[in-house]
C-alpha cells in the first residue's frame, strides 16, 4: 500500500514541474486514496478473515472487534474535536476550577467508566466463546496434532470409531465440534479465522476448542505460532459440508481407498522407496506415522499442508523437491528417484480418492 502511494507520488513529482500545485495533490489523492483502501476492503472478507465470520464463535469475535473499533473511533473523534475546539476556536484561558473539572471528568471518570464497560462486555462474552458441552453428550470430536509443518487430523465419532487424516479439516454445518489440540514437537497454534479464535498446541498438554460452523464453504486455517522455517507454509483447508454429505464423506474414509488396488506396481515402488516408513496408506503395508496419513490423499484439496493444488504433477514435484518447497520439514527430497517411478507413485497417490 505504502509503495503504491509512494510510486504515485513520485510520478506526480516528476511531471509536476509544469503542472499547477493543486492538480498535483488531487492526482495523488485520486490514485492514493482508493489504493490505500484496497487492503482494508480486501481484509474484510475472504477465506481467512476473522471479519467475514462463518461460525458462531467468529461472529462473536467479529462483533467484539466492531464494538471496540467503533468505541475507539468515537473516543478518538471526541478527543480530536476537543483538541480542535481548544486550539482553533476557543483559544482563551479557562479557570483552574474548570480545568480541574475537565481532568476529573474527562481524565478519570470517563475512561474508568468506558474501560469498565468494555472489559465487562469482553468478559461476559468469554463463557459463550468456550461452550463446552457435557463430555457424555459430545458429538463429533476432532483431535489435532501439530508437527513441523503439518497437521494430523483424527475424527472421533460418537460411536467410538476414529478416522485418521491430515492437512485438511472437514466439518458438518451447524453442528458443534470439539477439538482437542496437542503437539508432537513444539508449540503451534490452530487458527481458522473464519470460524473462531485461535488456540495453542502445546507438547505434553491437551487444549480444547469448540467451534460451530454456520456457513458452508471452504475456508483456510493457518498455524499462528512461529514454529520454524516453514511455519508460514503450515496451513490447511477447512471444508464445511452439509451434515449428510459430511457423514457419507467420513464413512468413505473409514475403509481403504479403492485406488489402492489400481496399481499394485506403484504400491510396490512406494514401499521400495521407503515412503511407507513415514506414511500410512490403509490397505497396504505402509504403516508409518511420523508423516501425514496418505490413505485418501488424492481426494484432498491441497498437498503439503495447503502448499499446492493437488494433482499428480504437483505431487511429483513435492516428492522430488520437498526441501526446496518446504524447507526444514522431515520429508527428504527424492531427486534421484527415476522419473518413471516418480510418475507412477504420484499417479497412484492421486488415485487414492
Amino acid at each position: 500500500m505504502t509503495r503504491e502511494i509512494f510510486i504515485s507520488g513520485e510520478h506526480q513529482r516528476r511531471d509536476g514541474d509544469a503542472e499547477p500545485a493543486p492538480r498535483r495533490s488531487s492526482g495523488a489523492v485520486r490514485v492514493g486514496v482508493p489504493l490505500s483502501a484496497v487492503p482494508l476492503i480486501v481484509s474484510c472478507n475472504g477465506i481467512q478473515s476473522a471479519l467475514d465470520p462463518a461460525g458462531e464463535e467468529a461472529r462473536q469475535v467479529a462483533t467484539l472487534f466492531w464494538v471496540m473499533t467503533v468505541g475507539g473511533l468515537a473516543i478518538w473523534a471526541g478527543v480530536i474535536a476537543l483538541a480542535l475546539y481548544a486550539s482553533r476556536w476557543k483559544r482563551g484561558a479557562i479557570t483552574t476550577e474548570a480545568a480541574g473539572r475537565l481532568i476529573v471528568w474527562g481524565g478519570v471518570v470517563f475512561p474508568v467508566t468506558v474501560l469498565t464497560a468494555l472489559l465487562a462486555y469482553a468478559l461476559w462474552l468469554m463463557p459463550s466463546l468456550r461452550p463446552f458441552g457435557d463430555q457424555t453428550q459430545a458429538g463429533l470430536r476432532v483431535e489435532i496434532v501439530g508437527s513441523q509443518f503439518w497437521w494430523r487430523v483424527v475424527y472421533h465419532r460418537p460411536d467410538g470409531s476414529s478416522i485418521v487424516s491430515a492437512n485438511e479439516v472437514r466439518l458438518p454445518l451447524g453442528r458443534r465440534v470439539e477439538f482437542s489440540l496437542t503437539s508432537s514437537d513444539m508449540i503451534h497454534s490452530f487458527w481458522i479465522p473464519a470460524l473462531g479464535g485461535k488456540m495453542d498446541l502445546i507438547p505434553g498438554r491437551t487444549n480444547r476448542l469448540s467451534l460451530q460452523p454456520t456457513k458452508s464453504g471452504t475456508y483456510r486455517g493457518q498455524c499462528a505460532e512461529f514454529c520454524g522455517r516453514s511455519h508460514a507454509l503450515m496451513a490447511f483447508p477447512v471444508v464445511v459440508m452439509q451434515p449428510g454429505d459430511f457423514e457419507s464423506w467420513l464413512a468413505a474414509r473409514a475403509s481403504a481407498s479403492p485406488g489402492v488396488v489400481e496399481s499394485r506396481s506403484a504400491e510396490t515402488l512406494f514401499l521400495r522407496h521407503g515412503c511407507g516408513d513415514c506414511h500410512r496408506v490403509d490397505g497396504t503395508q505402509a504403516r508409518g506415522t511420523s508423516g501425514p496419513d496418505l490413505s485418501h490423499v488424492g481426494s484432498r484439496l491441497t498437498i503439503g499442508a495447503s502448499l499446492m493444488t493437488n494433482d499428480a504433477e504437483t505431487m511429483a514435484r513435492f516428492i522430488a523437491h520437498s526441501q526446496s518447497l518446504k524447507p526444514g520439514s522431515l520429508m527428504p527430497t527424492y531427486l534421484d528417484m527415476p522419473s518413471a517411478d516418480l510418475d507412477a507413485i504420484s499417479a497412484w497417490l492421486k488415485g487414492l480418492q
Binding site: T96, V108, V112, L115, T116, L119, A120, L123, W124, M126, P127, R130, P131, F132, R208
Partner: protein, 127 residues
C-alpha cells in the same frame, strides 16, 4: 478515626501500601484460580467457592486501600492546598506525598476491581 492512627505513619511506606495490596490481591486471585483449576480438590471442588473467596479478598483489599486513601487525604490536608506542592519545605514534601498516595490509592482501587471482574462472569474452570 483521625486520631486512631498517629501522624508518624505518614512515611514513604504509606505510598506503597495501596499498590502492594493490589499486587497481593492480583497474585492471590490468579494463583488461587490457577491452582484450583489445575489441582482439583486441593482448594475445594465447587468453583463458586473460589468466586466467593475472590469476592471476599476483593472487599478486604478495597477496604485496606480505602483506609490508605483516607490517611493520604488527611496527609494532604483534606484537599485544602493546591498541587503541585513543589517548594523545598518539609510541609510541601508531606503534602506532595499525601497527594501522590491518594492518586495511587485511586488507581489501585480501580485495578483491584478490574482484577476481580472475571470472577463475576467466569463460572467454571473451562469457561
Amino acid at each position: 478515626m483521625w486520631r486512631l492512627l498517629p501522624k508518624e505513619v505518614e512515611s514513604l511506606w504509606t505510598l506503597f501500601t495501596a499498590p502492594v495490596v493490589w499486587a497481593l490481591h492480583f497474585l492471590l486471585s490468579y494463583v488461587g484460580a490457577a491452582v484450583f483449576c489445575e489441582k482439583p480438590g486441593l482448594l475445594g471442588e465447587d468453583f463458586d467457592n473460589l468466586r466467593v473467596a475472590i469476592g471476599l479478598i476483593t472487599v478486604l483489599s478495597l477496604a485496606v486501600i480505602g483506609v490508605s486513601a483516607l490517611l493520604a487525604w488527611r496527609q494532604w490536608g483534606f484537599g485544602t492546598g493546591d498541587p503541585p506542592h513543589d517548594d523545598p519545605t518539609r510541609r510541601d514534601r508531606l503534602l506532595f506525598q499525601g497527594y501522590a498516595t491518594l492518586l495511587l490509592s485511586g488507581l489501585s482501587f480501580v485495578a483491584v476491581i478490574f482484577t476481580a471482574l472475571p470472577a463475576l462472569f467466569i463460572t467454571e474452570c473451562l469457561r
